[in-house]
């Protein structure tokens, strides 16, 4: 499989008032196309930092980062336009826009790309159908359950057919049933759209859908096991 993202010897420090925190130390990570990678580790181990760095919203202090989105296009940094085109995000607290209803939340990335209202609504409706939420499409997200909100967030992450979806603790606020639904959705979406998924979680259950399970401890990355 071809490498889609490559982090080489990456380090990141956060400066406190009197001390530094080494969030990442000499981390190397390669994400292949169409694989699901789960990154676990205790709180403060640097999981979210690594996810943000891959997502282009934080910078490495040392080391290198490279994206190869196609044979003809690779880059080292992501601006907003590239994030919009190639990446999708799922957040722990869903990250939905509270003033919008479900379909408008899913359509939001399409709106940023300038699609017409009709087109973006059509695409968003299809995505909501795939996550089983057609019935609540026009409901405000404030009225949805946690599981429903995370499914809306997953639908939104896939709206622009991204090459990578980055999921930060996608199951953290969900009950057992919804954890299973969300993990299945992510796995199925990866297969359907050929997307690479990097998932950060405390939850060991997430490893069940992973092709690879990595662990971060005190800023160091360890490859736990390779799933089949």
């Amino acid at each position: 499989m071809a490498a889609l993202v490559k982090v080489s010897s990456g380090s990141k420090k956060y400066a406190g008032k009197q001390y530094f925190v080494n969030a990442l130390q000499d981390v190397s990570l390669t994400l292949q196309r169409q694989e699901v990678v789960v990154l676990t580790g205790p709180s403060g181990s640097g999981k979210s930092t690594l996810l943000n760095i891959v997502g282009g919203i934080e910078k490495l202090d040392q080391g290198e980062l490279a994206y190869v989105f196609s044979d003809s296009f690779s880059c080292r940094n992501l601006n907003e336009a590239l994030r919009l085109k190639y990446l999708g995000f799922v957040f722990q607290d869903f990250g939905l826009l509270p003033l919008l209803n479900a379909i408008d939340n899913v359509a939001f990335p399409l709106q940023l790309r300038g699609l017409s209202r009709t087109e973006r609504r059509r695409v968003a409706a299809e995505l909501l159908e795939q996550v089983g939420l057609s019935k609540v499409a026009h409901k405000s997200v404030s009225y949805l359950s946690g599981g429903e909100r995370q499914r809306v967030a997953i639908a939104r992450a896939f709206a622009n057919s991204p090459q990578i979806v980055l999921a930060d603790e996608p199951t953290a606020n969900l009950d057992e049933t919804n954890v299973r639904i969300v993990l299945e959705l992510l796995r199925n979406s990866c297969e359907r759209y050929g997307t690479t998924i990097l998932m950060v979680s405390h939850d060991a259950r997430c490893a069940s859908v992973a092709d690879r399970h990595l662990q971060l401890k005190d800023g160091h990355l360890q490859d736990m096991r390779r799933m089949n």
Binding site: I57, E80, F89
Partner: protein
């Protein structure tokens, strides 16, 4: 290019966040309403000052000899002229001209036998003058009529000074333009009151033909024109000037504004007061809305961070926030305009607000307010500016927010 969808999004945000929207609607709405009412009040004051001088003293336009303008001496024979019927006929045919009438002005002493005082006399054609002086009120007796001969109407201040009432006789003494004194007995038929107490202190009106007899002349000091609308003054003045250039080059025409320079002073004074109050209201609105938007910024840090993480450009975020501010202000302006319209309508139904006499005036008035379309437009644009200006700080903070930092914000 910024997608129109971003503006839809902004409008959606505005209408979806009801609590914030209602609060800001209230803030801007009240300011818009206050600005509109203040604007209507000032416009009404301007109108009152303008029309009271036009319709009780000067008319819209006055034709006089160039010498009159230079000498400022109403008694000089050099300032009199003979407006012939052809000239008067031509003037009355100018579109917008309602009345063309002659006047002769003179000064002198008026006495009741035991006391006397100075006066400014105006010989008028009573029928025409009753229309020109429509803002004057007869507070005792009656107005001059075309059948009156040795009768006069005096201003209320003059009547009070002389202690005369209708039916009393007075002696009027004046200097004739050619020199020499002339005097005659007159009967007071009416006491009039204008909006200006100064004017009422010395004004005395008598029929034109009688004034000419008293002054031993057939000439006039002025030709006064009343128009059907004050807005036509400049246009008619130009037409009059053309006629004078052709047929009476020794005469000049002056409009009510040149004849009443105090009008511009009043306008300048009120404009400054209004401008200062408007500035204060706009400033308070900007600070209040800016404060509300800043509070909402703290609530929306994660929202902005999510948007930026997903791929919203900084410029798009700024446009969206500005559009939110403008949409809020637009909605609030509509609310403010409706409230102001309701208030002015209510005031109209109640017959106006009783106001005390303004400085230099004899009488109070009922204040009726009317919203002007240009005023509404000005306030509408000003409030949209306020809405956008209030969002500048929030927009600045939003675009300088690091998405990763914002996502950690609880």
């Amino acid at each position: 290019m910024i997608s129109p969808a971003i503006f839809q999004q902004a409008f959606h945000n505005v209408t979806a966040n009801k609590r914030r929207t209602i609060f800001v609607l209230f803030l801007i709405g009240i300011s818009v309403c206050a600005l509109l009412l203040m604007n209507a009040f000032v416009k009404r004051v301007y109108w009152g000052v303008r029309e009271s001088v036009v319709r009780s003293q000067t008319g819209h336009l006055q034709i006089m000899s160039k010498k009159y303008d230079q000498l400022r001496n109403v008694e000089s024979s050099q300032t009199l002229f003979d407006p012939n019927e052809t000239l008067l006929g031509e003037l009355s045919k100018i579109p917008g001209v309602m009345i063309v009438t002659r006047r002769v002005e003179f000064k002198g002493l008026i006495g009741n036998g035991s006391q006397s005082t100075v006066f400014t006399g105006v010989g008028v054609e009573p029928r025409e003058d009753s229309t020109i002086s429509s803002f004057d009120r007869v507070i005792n007796g009656r107005a001059l009529s075309s059948v009156d001969q040795w009768n006069i109407a005096v201003g209320s201040g003059l009547a009070q000074g002389l202690s005369v009432v209708p039916g009393n006789s007075v002696i009027v003494t004046t200097v004739m333009p050619q020199g020499g004194l002339n005097a005659a007995d007159f009967e007071v038929v009416g006491i009039t009151q204008s909006d200006s107490s100064d004017y009422d202190q010395h004004i005395m009106k008598i029929p034109l033909v009688v004034a000419q007899k008293l002054l031993n002349t057939t000439s006039a000091s002025k030709v006064v024109l009343l128009l059907d609308s004050t807005d036509k003054t400049a246009e008619v003045k130009q037409a009059v000037q053309k006629i004078l250039n052709r047929s009476a080059p020794d005469l000049i025409v002056k409009d009510w504004r040149e004849l009443n320079p105090q009008y511009d002073k009043i306008v300048a004074l009120y404009s400054r007061i209004f401008g200062f109050m408007a500035f204060a209201l706009v400033l308070v609105s900007i600070l209040s809305i800016g404060n509300v938007m800043s509070m909402s910024f703290l609530e929306r840090i994660r929202e902005f961070s999510v948007m930026r993480t997903i791929g919203m450009r900084k410029s798009t975020l700024v446009s969206m926030l500005m559009a939110e501010g403008a949409s809020l202000a637009l909605l609030a302006s509509i609310v403010g305009i409706l409230i102001a319209w309701l208030i002015t309508w209510g005031i109209g139904l109640a017959g106006g607000i009783p106001m005390p006499p303004p400085p230099g005036s004899n009488r109070g008035f009922s204040l009726l307010l009317e919203l002007s379309l240009p005023g509404v437009w000005q306030v509408l644009w000003a409030s949209i500016f306020v809405g956008i200006a209030a969002c500048v700080l929030v927009a600045w903070r939003a675009v300088h927010l690091q998405p990763a930092q914002g996502l950690r914000h609880a």
